[in-house]
Amino acid sequence: MIEFSHVYKTYPGPVHALKNIDLKIAKGEFVFLTGPSGAGKTSLFKMISAFDVATSGLVQVAGIDLSRLNENKVAEYRRKIGVVFQDFRLLKDRTIFENIALPLQIRGDRSQQIQRRVQEVLEQVGLSHKYDQFPDFVSGGEQQRTAIARAIVHQPGVLIADEPTGNLDPKLSEEIMDLLERVCSQGTTVFVATHDQEMVRRRKKRRVDLKDGLLVGDQ
């Protein structure tokens, strides 16, 4: 599903963010990405979400070579993936329902379809009763569940989550991880960057370690 082959990323300076990354993640797999700050996790995620391209090497997601996408194709590609951030990135002037509905509106789905699908996802993430609330009036855990709901509402093949539990307490973190595992069990490839080593050990999933731009572990 996700394939990195001899990938290098160098920023002006020069700063070598990624060095000779070889990585394959199969469809429906759940993988943790760990490593200290500056290890290259964000660069790797930027490439998967097509906000950056490799200096050299090949990055493929679902068979698509991401270096060959034009402006419109990039947008089309992003509709096939889901992205979750530590700081949720919700639109504060829209309700939870409206935030979740955004990817479907962008895709041009009909209003009834949107209504039905958003309600399904709201139930899945346990937010049916909060659909008409604004993000600032719900808890951090609920905001992150909203962000996950928005990332999965269009049934993406890949879900990448950059420190999704970074702003949450341990109990809420576990809830979010349970939710991500449920998403994975439905066939979505889930790739989660985290600092939380304890949680990674507890979850017993594949773990990829980055250090100074190098892939130092894959277990």
């Binding site: 906000f51 402006e71 590609y77 990135r89």
Partner: protein, 306 residues
């Protein structure tokens, strides 16, 4: 989709209303200056045309010219398609008119037979009504140079000095209006572009999210283009309305003076076609000003800075 665009436009209006309002005032003022310049230029041109219509050429004939030669010259002049009327004023008729005009001013002069004998016969030429006002001077110039070469013509007069000066004045005024118009429209474009830039910055987070979930750049740009176009449209409609009120007020205030100058029936406000054209240009400028700013929103403009 369209509903979403207008919702975003309304949301932007609510968020940035002081900025939007001041932009509306500035852009309306710019457009107003352009309309007023156009209105002045259009009406001055009308006045020139009006005065041009009254313009006549007097062709003074030599003492020794024969009636047959005069007849021939008249026919030759009539062949010119720009000429409307040609009238022969004989020496006697000219004398009679002169006497009538001078009787009250210088009665002694009328007794001097020698002086009176100096008044020549002439041809009074008017241009046809179909001739465009601004063309009068050129036509008269060309006609005068042809007639001056005729043997029986001693002099040609058509008040060329003041007409030349007046049309030069109009010419420079129009060029000045055009230059001012271009500068003002450029300023309007700059203001509009900066307002949209502020709007883009204030909605950067929203753009970032839209980019993340796969919105096409054109989808993200559209609400801003609509925003710019609607400011442009609203400003041009307001400018037309205000200029109409000003025009009505001023012509009403100076009604008597305009009647005395025989101009009241000849001045007019810009016509409907020009209004439609102006509003289209105003709207288009708004959209262009907006586009100049939002063209930077492409492939992850906001989200790349994550």
């Amino acid at each position: 989709m369209i509903r979403s665009v207008f919702e975003q436009r309304l949301s932007s209006l609510k968020q940035n209303w002081p900025l939007q309002f001041s932009t509306l005032v500035v852009v309306t003022s710019c457009y107003l200056v352009v309309i007023i310049s156009f209105l002045l230029s259009q009406n001055l041109q009308k006045i020139l045309t009006l005065w041009g219509n009254d313009l006549q050429m007097t062709v003074y004939l030599n003492e020794e010219s024969e009636p047959s030669e005069v007849q021939l010259l008249q026919e030759k002049i009539r062949e010119n398609k720009n000429v409307g009327r040609v009238k022969l004023i004989t020496k006697e008729e000219a004398l009679k008119e002169f006497r009538g005009q001078m009787a009250s001013y210088a009665p002694d002069l009328l007794t001097h037979g020698d002086i009176l004998n100096l008044i020549p016969a002439s041809l009074q030429i008017s241009l046809s009504e179909s001739t465009a006002g601004m063309e009068h001077l050129k036509i008269l110039d060309a006609l005068a140079s042809v007639l001056k070469s005729e043997e029986i013509v001693s002099e040609v007069s058509y008040g060329q000095d003041w007409v030349k000066k007046y049309s030069q004045l109009i010419f420079y005024f129009q060029r000045a209006c055009e230059a001012i118009g271009i500068i003002i429209l450029g300023a309007a474009l700059f203001v509009l572009s900066n307002v949209i830039r502020a709007s883009v910055q204030s909605r950067r987070q929203e753009i970032e999210v839209l980019e993340l979930i796969g919105a096409m750049p054109s989808m993200i740009r559209l609400p801003f283009l609509v925003e710019g176009a609607s400011i442009g449209f609203l400003s041009s409609v307001l400018a037309v309305t205000i200029s109409y009120l000003m025009y009505s007020g001023i012509t009403g205030m100076f009604e008597k003076q305009l009647q005395f100058l025989q101009l009241s029936g000849h001045l007019s406000f810009i016509n409907t076609l020009v209004i439609i054209f102006f509003c289209s240009i105003g709207t288009g400028l708004g959209a262009i000003g907006s586009y100049l700013c939002v063209r930077q929103i492409n492939d992850g403009w906001a989200a790349k800075s994550l």
